[in-house]
Symmetry: C2
Subunit: 246 residues, 2 copies
């Protein structure tokens, strides 16, 4: 975990629902400090609170309304925009970082950062962007790169989770079965094949195929032990039935 | 680009606005085929179309209403859920892939995949999930991992852009200035320092500091040439003023 703090600011939002959506995404991805510049009215019975999920309990009621200057003066500022310049002839919207690059760079720095999102449709204007320190832009389809404000913030905050979330709801990683268990399954599969496929070359081919299939799937311990059981029982029944038919 | 096609399905959505939000994210991230299982009424003057942005022109009107079985029978199916099992004692929600892992795995496979999102609040139920091939879950804060339906889909589709978007709106990469231009700037900075800082050891220290700063910033050609100009002009004015004062 970095020592960085990351806050969010929304400038001149028109739609209370978008403020609620952003507050929810903040809570989903481990952020809590929200600043509002020229916000719409946030009625506790309206869409902002309706869209905020559990962020209605903290992020949204604790949001602070501040002037734009407050952000510039107190934070390392990152302005988000869908529209960048494509080369370095104009610096207002260039160079930029993608959200993932932003997360990587902030993870390594001790800084109080605020990520700034602009109004619906037109986003942050040039006068605002040129006062901010960095530009962040979400890679999207060239034919329609403009995300809705709430969705854009959701994507950026999703990427920033790696800086801010100490513990996700997911287990760290899927635990692959120990190699010897997997080899035991391969052996069991081979023994199972003997009564099923009389031609030795075909059995070898099937064993290779089976090894490749499991090799890509990274089976868990439970999967391996369950399948071993299946093939063992199948093999034993096949042998019984063959012995009875002798 | 992969040969894969990726479609989206929404099961039993209650809120038309979420369907519109998902349609917009699809268009933003290069997907077009939307399937709806038990959808709400999508009034052309209602929230679905209101939230869809430019997807109101194609993704949304072209969406097909199908039974759940249609997905299972015709696609490689991926079910999205915030709630996973944490180990392999139960397989309905385990193992899972994160959206990024899903994108990586689909990029390498020729398959018609459908990514399936469930109803608001409760998501896909166990009966539905056990009929689907893979599980996908978004890493989020352990204390509040449940995203809004539209936001969850936005994050997953954002990650899948790497499979489906041929060209983003962003230039491929920021072009760093050629090394010799940067070295030229370093030299110019050094010459500029001579009249500014008389102590040679201090000049060396400042030059190292300057080299480190630019080394982290990966300056563009324009930045380098502009700064060279600045230091050249400053140096020449400093020398003039010194010569006059002699």
């Amino acid at each position: 975990m970095s020592e960085a703090s990351i806050s969010v600011a929304i400038v001149d939002a028109q739609t209370p629902g978008n403020v609620g959506t952003i507050a929810r995404a903040m809570k989903n991805f481990g952020l809590s400090d929200l600043y509002l510049v020229d916000p719409p009215d946030l009625d506790p019975d309206g869409e902002a609170y309706g869209f905020a999920g559990q962020a209605r309990e903290d992020v949204l009621p604790n949001a602070q309304t501040v002037p734009f200057e407050h952000l510039v003066e107190n934070f390392h500022t990152v302005g988000c925009t869908a529209v960048t310049n494509t080369d370095d002839r104009r610096h207002i919207r260039y160079p930029f970082r993608t959200p993932r690059e932003l997360a990587d760079s902030l993870a390594g720095v001790e800084t109080d950062t605020v990520v700034v999102f602009g109004r619906e449709r037109v986003g942050l204007n040039n006068e605002e962007l040129e006062r901010l320190d960095e530009i962040c832009s979400i890679p999207a389809s060239a034919s329609y790169p403009v995300l809705n404000l709430g969705q854009a913030a959701t994507v950026v905050l999703y990427e920033l989770r790696t800086v801010m979330v100490e513990e996700t709801q997911l287990p760290d990683e899927i635990v692959r079965a120990p190699e010897r268990d997997i080899e035991g399954l391969h052996d069991q599969f081979g023994t199972f094949l003997e009564p099923v496929e009389p031609v030795s070359e075909q059995r070898s081919r099937l064993r290779r195929l089976w090894r490749r299939l499991l090799g890509r799937a990274h089976p868990t311990r439970r999967e391996v032990s369950s399948l071993r059981g299946v093939f063992r029982r199948a093999e034993s029944q096949l042998r019984e039935s063959r012995d009875q038919n002798k």
